[in-house]
């Protein structure tokens, strides 16, 4: 790869900051000066993907190359616009939006150099134009953009890349291969194994047709603490390991209210101490919205806030109070999220984010409480075993993650080894969900606290 030609051949770098900077320099070099039409960057959770996108965008704009940015959701687009404006308030930025009501974050209206419009023609001449893939698909241009950045490219479906790829000449594709794969609401087995399977991820198709494109990897997770990075790296990225940017002593979580000895308090202390906690309920087959598990999640969250946690990290010299907006609850299904929201409202908690893995992608919190996707289930379907789902849920936190689960999931996994048919021509994804689930469970077992009200 071209990385070697630019960066001086260095001895193994131990400083995570330097290691990450070296990777970023190589990526920017390939993007700005490389000969290939595309560059692919794999980024593990919290490795500074957005920072990279913003930096690449600024450098491309500075080089005078008209740039379009494709993200997958409106929230992602707005977030990028705000970050760009923060880094360079003078840069003329265009936010292309849909014609629905409230199409973008109102905060954008306060930015002087950000122009918003539902028509691409209104934004001609802006150095950078950002929008969602769905909106870009409706844009027609006579002359394509010189450059594009495609964000969350692993969550983008191949067919939506097909709809926008005619708009640009070259592109930087950035994404996290470990998160949830895109899905189709109808069967797509008919195209499995084709290099242009429309239901595959955009990167899969791109690399199948352009195998020589340079591929880079961000090597350091700044979000995940030292307690989490090795587990997430081993379980979900076995062949592309990464490390945490902080050491074991850099982050601490302490509570000023002492434990009352209950299950929730014990698991909170365990998670504060080790980064992980498993609150285990007695084994039972339950409906999806298992009332006991839902209540257990709610009481863990309630106690987290009541016990007045203080988070110490490299970000601030003083400990920061753990407030409701720094806590999130993750589930597999929407009805589970709704049930937990209702249970939280019953105990007077309203500010905490409760969402499914799909919607938590790309978000970051200090502490997360996760209802295990397999908790209480009589079977393990492909949906519940999906590697990306567990990976998202287990990698949103900066300090600690508490998993609430019924006992017996390990036996359930043994009863339901993955039976997905192997399709010819489809690259096998490693690790499979079964294996990743076992790896995470084995680790969590060391931090087990039985449920006691």
């Amino acid at each position: 790869m071209t990385a070697e030609t630019t960066a001086a051949p260095a001895a193994p770098v131990l400083d995570p900051g330097a290691e990450a900077a070296r990777a970023t320099a190589a990526i920017l070099h390939d993007t700005l000066h490389g000969a290939e039409r595309g560059v692919v960057v794999d980024s593990p959770p919290g490795a500074g993907k957005s920072t990279l996108v913003v930096r690449a965008a600024l450098e491309l704009a500075e080089a005078g190359r008209p740039l379009m940015v494709v993200a997958q959701t409106n929230a992602q687009v707005d977030d990028l616009v705000l970050r760009l404006a923060e880094k360079n308030p003078d840069l003329p930025v265009g936010r292309l939006h849909s014609s629905d009501a409230d199409p973008y974050d109102k905060a954008l209206d306060g930015l002087e150099n950000v122009r918003t419009s539902a028509k691409a023609a209104d934004l001609a001449g802006q150095a950078v134009v950002l929008s969602t893939a769905a909106k870009w698909a409706h844009v027609k241009v006579d002359e394509p953009w010189r450059h594009a950045i495609v964000d969350e490219a692993y969550q983008m479906r191949s067919d939506s890349l097909l709809a926008v790829a005619g708009l640009f000449e070259r592109a930087l594709f950035v994404g996290d291969p470990g998160q949830l794969d895109p899905f189709a609401t109808v069967g797509s087995e008919q195209w499995a194994g084709l290099s242009h399977d429309p239901s595959a991820s955009a990167v899969t198709t791109l690399l199948a047709h352009n195998p020589t494109l340079p591929q880079h990897r961000l090597p350091v997770s700044w979000r995940l603490p030292a307690s989490a990075a090795p587990l997430v790296s081993d379980a979900f990225y076995p062949y592309t390991p990464f490390r945490s940017g902080t050491g074991h002593g850099d982050r601490r979580l302490a509570f000023s209210v002492a434990s009352d000895g209950s299950g929730p308090d014990q698991v909170i202390d365990e998670a504060a101490r080790s980064g992980w906690g498993l609150l285990e309920l007695p084994p039972r087959h339950t409906p999806r919205t298992d009332p006991e598990a839902v209540r257990a999640v709610a009481s863990v969250v309630r106690r987290l806030l009541d016990r007045r946690g203080a988070a110490t990290s490299e970000r601030a010299p003083e400990p920061v109070l753990l407030t409701a907006d720094r806590v999130a609850v993750g589930t597999a299904h929407r009805d589970q999220a709704a049930a937990i929201r209702a249970a939280l409202a019953d105990v007077g908690v309203t500010e905490v984010t409760v969402d499914t893995a799909n919607r938590l992608q790309g978000r970051e919190y200090d502490v997360t409480v996760v209802l295990h996707p397999l908790s209480g289930r009589p079977d393990a379907t492909a949906f519940h075993l999906e590697t990306g789902r567990l990976c998202v849920l287990a990698s949103r936190h900066r300090h600690a993650c508490v998993v609430v689960c019924r006992a017996g999931v390990d036996e359930l996994l043994d009863d339901y080894p993955s039976t997905e048919p192997v399709q010819l021509g489809t690259p096998v994804k490693f690790p499979d969900g079964w294996e990743a689930n076992h790896a995470v469970l084995a680790h969590l077992a060391e931090h087990r606290v039985p449920w006691r009200p």
Binding site: A137, L162, A184, V186, T205
Partner: protein, 532 residues
């Protein structure tokens, strides 16, 4: 499986009868469906053994391949099948009505209305089970690339004249069957499974006999479970199933004990005929061949006829249900699909390619996802029982309007934005400013969720379909005491973005298919593991 389906299945177990899963019929049924009950040879998926086909339940046409491994006989079967299916399809293809379609003008690039022909009705094909649909697809694939002597005088194994055309039509039907809600090609087990919930698994529902046993086990006597068990397992004194499988696969006991000996007798008779030394002997032996063939025919008929009757019994059951309000609308889409394939055939286009190119595949996927969403919405709007399932899942709610307060939007020209308070026993998954929709005279009206005032008391703000004036049009805002039903899902689907033409396939997807697609791909290279 949704909660309401699980409950219906439990109820079916308790009562011993299938429970209704719909109050209206959600698929179009033609007045003259062409029913096709095929059988195949064990161990050779592409080798048909025989079929019953036709539109008259009392007079099906029996087609049989007395020696399924003889390719000439197989061709004869396919030619005969084409002789039944194609005239039926062509009768529909010939009767057209004028219709309008929006097309992009190649010169101006503008969307313009064009007057075109639309087939007044389309031919419907019904097979017993999902495996039958796969078999139709397989037959289509095996036939559409065949060449006839007329197309290519040099071709080494020419197909009978109409066989490639039948392949193209069956391929079209097989592809269309993948579109949710389409009714050109239907499997009876899917149709019945859509409208009734049995006390067995959906996999077991693929056995047509067992499925019908649950739905109509008879007034007295066995429960659905017992009747289904009997349909699956009961055998006569000779060890043959009383209710033969709906195919295309046959029961091994039938294959071994009855079919194999009969085919062997046929083979022997043919060999003997070939060895005949004079005319008299040949005449005799021809008689033996005919007798042996008749025996195979009788066997095939004995295994297909019960399934044939079961399909028609299923049609009777389905016809008792009134058609859902949107069924006609979806059938019109099927007619468009039928018409467009007819036009491609008439225009002399080549058969459907072996594999979809990137653009075609993406377009098909987008269409099917849109049709899936459309189907789910329309079924719920057409059928209170389906809507009940969506309400139970928190995706809709019904209730009574207990208050309406007039309010206006904050803009230069204020538009009406009335606040409607609804009391409901349902528990919808509503979040802040979530959009909800109701049907107002068949068109969707949107509202947004404002607040929950009390347990089951929801405040909504109506946001559209109230006319252009300052005061909402009469009847466009619900009134106190009205029963309303709002859904969290949209009722109509937006069209997707236009994809590039296949010639404009971008570099990310391998560029235009053009030259590379025309070259047949090389076979896999020989490896050390290849022993044959």
């Amino acid at each position: 499986m949704s909660l309401i389906t699980t409950l219906a299945r439990l109820e079916a177990v308790r009562t011993g009868r299938a429970q209704p899963a719909a109050t209206v019929r959600h698929r179009h049924l033609s007045d003259r469906p062409l029913v096709f009950v095929p059988l195949i040879t064990a161990g050779e998926a592409g080798a048909p053994l025989g079929a019953l086909v036709g539109t008259d339940r009392d007079a099906p046409r029996l087609l049989v391949v007395p020696q399924p491994r003889d390719r000439d006989l197989r061709f004869a079967f396919l030619a005969e099948l084409a002789g039944v299916v194609l005239p039926h399809i062509e009768a529909y293809a010939d009767s057209v009505e004028p219709a309008e379609r929006t097309e992009t003008d190649p010169e101006t690039g503008k969307r313009v209305k064009v007057e075109v022909d639309l087939c007044a009705d389309a031919a419907q094909l019904i097979v017993p089970s999902r495996a039958g649909v796969d078999f139709v697809r397989l037959l289509g694939r095996s036939m559409r690339f065949r060449r006839t002597t007329e197309q290519d005088p040099e071709t080494p194994h020419p197909a009978p004249p109409r066989v490639p055309l039948l392949g193209r039509w069956l391929t079209h039907y097989g592809e269309r069957a993948r579109v949710p809600g389409s009714s050109l090609l239907l499997a009876m087990t899917d149709l019945l499974g859509r409208h009734w919930a049995t006390g067995q698994s959906t996999l077991e529902d693929q056995h047509l006999g067992a499925l019908l046993a649950w739905i109509a086990p008879g007034d007295e006597g066995p429960t659905g479970a017992e009747a289904a068990r009997r349909a699956e397992l009961a055998r006569d004194a000779d060890g043959q199933l009383l209710c033969p499988p709906a195919g295309p696969a046959t029961d091994p006991a039938f294959d071994n004990k009855l079919l194999a000996p009969a085919i062997e007798r046929y083979d022997r008779a043919r060999t003997a005929l070939a060895a005949a030394e004079d005319g008299v002997e040949a005449d005799d032996r021809l008689g033996a061949v005919t007798a042996a063939e008749r025996e195979v025919r009788a066997l095939v008929e004995s295994r297909t006829r019960p399934t044939w009757d079961a399909v028609w019994r299923g049609l009777d059951l389905l016809r008792e249900l009134p058609a859902g309000a949107h069924v006609e609308d979806r059938w019109t889409r099927d007619r468009w699909s039928f018409t467009s394939h007819r036009d491609r055939v008439l225009a002399g286009e080549p058969p459907q390619p072996r594999r979809d190119d990137a653009v075609t595949a993406a377009n098909k996927l987008a269409t099917r996802e849109r049709e899936q969403a459309r189907l789910e919405a329309q079924e719920a709007l057409d059928d209170p029982l389906v809507m009940a399932g969506r309400r139970l899942a928190g995706e809709a709610f019904a209730g009574e309007v207990i208050d309406v307060v007039m309010a206006y939007s904050e803009s230069k020209r204020p538009s009406p934005r009335p606040l409607v308070t609804v009391r409901t026993d349902d528990r919808p998954h509503l979040g802040e400013r979530v959009k909800v929709h109701r049907s107002l005279g068949g068109r969707p009206q949107a509202a947004e969720f404002v607040a929950q005032e009390d347990e089951g008391v929801l405040v909504l703000r109506i946001v559209d379909r109230m006319g252009r004036g300052k005061e909402p049009e009469a009847g466009s805002v619900p009134e106190k005491g009205d029963r309303v039903c709002f859904t969290l899902f949209e009722h109509e689907q937006r069209g997707g973005a236009k994809l590039p033409d296949p010639e404009g396939t971008p570099w990310t997807h391998g560029g235009p298919p053009g030259e590379t697609a025309a070259v047949p791909e090389a076979a896999d290279a020989q490896t050390e593991e290849d022993v044959l």
